[in-house]
């Protein structure tokens, strides 16, 4: 074998000779180093070649102080908290184009501390670039961003006119109580339909919802049409008009009127209405209001659903409302027929002997009536019902019905339970409604509180209504109370409650976690 032949060209092929790299002197400074394509030590290379030449050291970002978002030109505003990955993304996008043009690649970036009010954001970038003879150099490079303040479009619009609305939904129901609105409020919260509203204001017999766009208002109206029997009418008013581009700005108004019949209302049907509904007895009780009214004849246990449009044909009003309920005590009950279930609610026809609580010790006035609450009542229970015997009504239909038929003296509506303790295990969220301070009558506050209390009591009784809304766990509930209260009173089982979300650093919930 020739002494000069290279070993790799030899016959074996598997033999690879050891090749330890020798050291050369750096051509600039003479320090001994491993040979590299430039044959200069790293320090001489870095001193000679500055890869960050041409990379910007200063840049600007625009920031909206109201909503703490940063502008991404041309038009989008992105929300970012200080020193967050989103902010780094925004800043890096600002300097991306010059970096790409110089063929410099980014291998890392990190934030350098800067005072929060200094209006400067500092980044330390690690740049990589190929220099002479294919060597890749890496160098750090600080970049400083000057933060300019400017209100973003939506904040400036809100700032200029905070009450600026484009569409309003005026929800009205001409009844003396506000139970429907309490119920609707919970439904809106559960479905999140009022989230787009700029403002919610209370009006004398209803609520006003203000929106920034017509479509949001229309969305709320559509939702209301599915949960309540409503009648809508719309109107619009010209606010401004751009002649050049023919753009017309309007203010839209949706007047939504809810049918005045509520749950537990007693209605006397006219002959015509009674005949159209298939001979439903002249006295009917309204048991459920969705987008149709369910009317129950307590004597025949027949339920008829009346749609809004059909209702408008007759337009009857309630003869007696839940305000006029009187408390009775049940002396005796006799089931007449088996328990039936209509629409998910259970009814049972029974004969009951009742006396008014006001009469109970004083005289012997006892009424024997047919009632649909046979499955609930036992002797000794208290029940609420309408007192037709002693009522003085201002209703034409009732008068005709009284003359033509023999009406029962008492119509029992629901069972009543003793007063329950103040605190409940659950609570409800409320909508932020602006109260109309100018129109407040005296004593209205107390009336409202009573109504709310009655509403909560109703919720406890009715699991179906609870299903439609969200109940939250009450953190202030004291569990010792539960043992003292009698077991007969229905309470909301804890499985139905939702943990309320509290922001802030509290310790983990202890004790109450039964779910």
């Amino acid at each position: 074998m020739l002494p000069g032949s290279a070993p790799a060209a030899g016959g074996t092929g598997m033999f690879v000779p050891a090749a330890t790299a020798g050291t050369v002197l750096c051509c600039m400074c003479g320090v001994s180093m491993q040979p590299n394509p430039a044959n200069m030590c790293a320090r001489c290379l870095r001193a000679r070649v500055d890869i960050t030449e041409g990379v910007p050291r200063h840049a600007a970002v625009v920031y909206c102080p109201d909503c703490s978002s940063y502008l991404q030109p041309p038009r989008s505003w992105l929300r970012a908290t200080p020193e967050s990955p989103e902010l780094m993304q925004i800043l890096l996008r600002r300097i991306n184009r010059p970096l790409a043009r110089l063929r410099v690649s980014l291998s890392g970036a990190e934030f350098v501390f800067s005072e929060p009010h200094s209006k400067r954001l500092r980044l330390k970038l690690r740049l990589r670039r190929e220099v002479l003879h294919g060597i890749v150099l890496e160098q750090t490079h600080p970049v400083e961003f000057v933060v300019h303040d400017r209100l973003c479009d939506s904040c400036s619009r809100a700032q200029a006119n905070p009450d600026q609305w484009v569409a309003v939904v005026q929800l009205r129901q001409h009844v003396p109580h506000r139970r429907t609105f309490l119920y609707l409020e919970q439904l809106l919260l559960k479905h999140g339909q009022a989230s787009l509203a700029i403002r919610v204001a209370a009006a004398p017999s209803g609520l006003d919802f203000f929106f920034g766009s017509r479509s949001h208002a229309a969305r709320l109206v559509d939702f209301l049409a599915t949960v309540a029997p409503i009648q809508t009418s719309t109107a619009k008013q010209l606010v401004s008009h751009d002649t050049k581009s023919s753009v017309y700005n309007y203010k839209y108004t949706f007047s939504v009127e809810i049918c005045p019949i509520c749950r537990e209302d007693l209605i006397a049907l006219s002959r015509q209405a009674s005949r159209d509904m298939g001979g439903l007895g002249p006295l009917v009780l309204c048991v459920k209001v969705t987008n149709a009214i369910a009317l129950l004849d307590p004597l025949t246990l027949r339920v008829h659903h009346l749609e809004e449009k059909k209702y408008r044909v007759y337009n009857f009003k309630a003869a007696l409302t839940s305000k006029q309920l009187v408390e009775y005590i049940v002396l005796d009950i006799e089931q007449e027929s088996p328990e039936i279930s209509i629409d998910g609610s259970r009814y049972q026809l029974a004969y009951a002997q009742v006396a008014r609580v006001s009469d109970f010790g004083k005289n012997d006035t006892i009424f024997t009536v047919r009632t649909h609450l046979g499955h609930l009542l036992n002797p000794g229970d208290h029940a609420l019902g309408y007192d037709l015997y002693g009522a003085n009504l201002n209703d034409d239909d009732m008068d005709t019905a009284m003359t033509r038929y023999s009406l029962p003296e008492v119509v029992l509506v629901k069972k009543s339970y003793e007063k329950r303790p103040r605190t409940r295990r659950w609570k409800l969220k409320r909508l932020p409604v602006e109260e109309d301070a100018a129109n407040k009558a005296k004593g209205e506050e107390e009336k409202r509180l009573d109504e709310y209390e009655a509403f909560l009591r109703d919720l406890e009784l009715d699991p179906e209504m609870r299903f439609k809304m969200d109940l939250y766990k009450n953190e202030d509930y004291r569990s010792e109370m539960a043992s003292t209260v009698g077991d007969d009173i229905p309470t909301v089982p804890i499985e139905e409650l939702i943990e309320d979300l509290t922001l802030g650093d509290d310790e983990d919930d202890d004790g109450e976690e039964a779910v």
């Binding site: 000069g4 051509c27 400074c29």
Partner: protein, 245 residues
């Protein structure tokens, strides 16, 4: 002594010149600066000849020679051949050879005793080299490069090779050539050694980009810094001795 020069503002002086112990070939340039630099250094010792090979100026890379002879590629014209035969001393054999790899300066590196050649050189050429130049021929690669003539430069006293040469290769070459070798660069980090400098036993010429570090490496490995003791004695003799008896 190592000198830094430029050929028409280009630092690759090894391309445009060929320096041996017996003669020096220089390319014809626009100005006389290159030629006069060589003249100033070498005129009293060896002849400095201006020439072209095949009409080109890259004479350093096309021809190879030592004190015994000079080999020219087949592209050399007859006039050039004759001119060289006339100008060079008689003991230098000038020969034109027929070789497919015509850039002989890139393929062959030699001093007065040993030559390293491109592994694919013809057998006939190898014999010519052995005859004309009077050297022992070895086929080698340097740092994996087959153009040995470009990536190393060596004289009878030392040699400089490609910086990426491994330690084992360096030892092997050193044993072959019987001279001390070092891996280094020339012209501020350029790896093509022979193109950036040209050297003989007592002097070297490098491109003007060569840094001081590289120059010191060259001077130390080619033993140029020791100065010429004979020259010193010669100078002193005139002052030491008044006259001969």
């Amino acid at each position: 002594m190592a000198t830094r020069i430029q050929f028409e503002n280009n630092c690759e002086v090894g391309v445009f010149s060929k320096l041996t112990n017996a003669y020096c070939l220089v390319a014809i340039g626009g100005s006389e600066n290159f030629y006069s630099a060589f003249e100033a250094e070498l005129a009293d010792a060896i002849p400095v000849v201006k020439t072209s090979i095949g009409g080109t100026r890259i004479i350093g890379r096309l021809c190879v020679g030592n004190k015994n002879g000079l080999l020219l590629p087949h592209t050399t014209t007859d006039q050039e051949l004759q001119h060289l035969r006339n100008c060079l001393p008689d003991q230098v054999v000038v020969q034109r050879i027929d070789e497919r790899l015509s850039a002989l300066g890139n393929c062959i590196a030699c001093n007065d005793h040993v030559a390293l050649t491109h592994p694919d050189l013809d057998k006939a050429t190898e014999e010519f080299i052995a005859d004309v130049l009077g050297v022992e021929v070895f086929r080698q690669t340097i740092a994996g490069n087959i153009l040995v003539g470009s990536y190393c430069a060596f004289s009878n006293r030392g040699g400089l090779v490609h910086p990426h040469t491994s330690v084992e290769d360096l030892d092997e070459l050193s044993t072959l050539l019987q001279v001390p070798l070092v891996a280094g660069t020339v012209n501020r980090g350029s790896e093509v050694i022979a193109a950036g400098m040209t050297v003989n036993d007592w002097t070297a010429f490098c491109g003007s980009d060569t840094t001081a570090t590289e120059l010191s490496v060259i001077e130390s490995v080619f033993k140029l810094r020791e100065g010429q003791p004979t020259a010193i004695v010669e100078d002193m003799r005139k002052s030491l001795i008044d006259s001969y008896v």
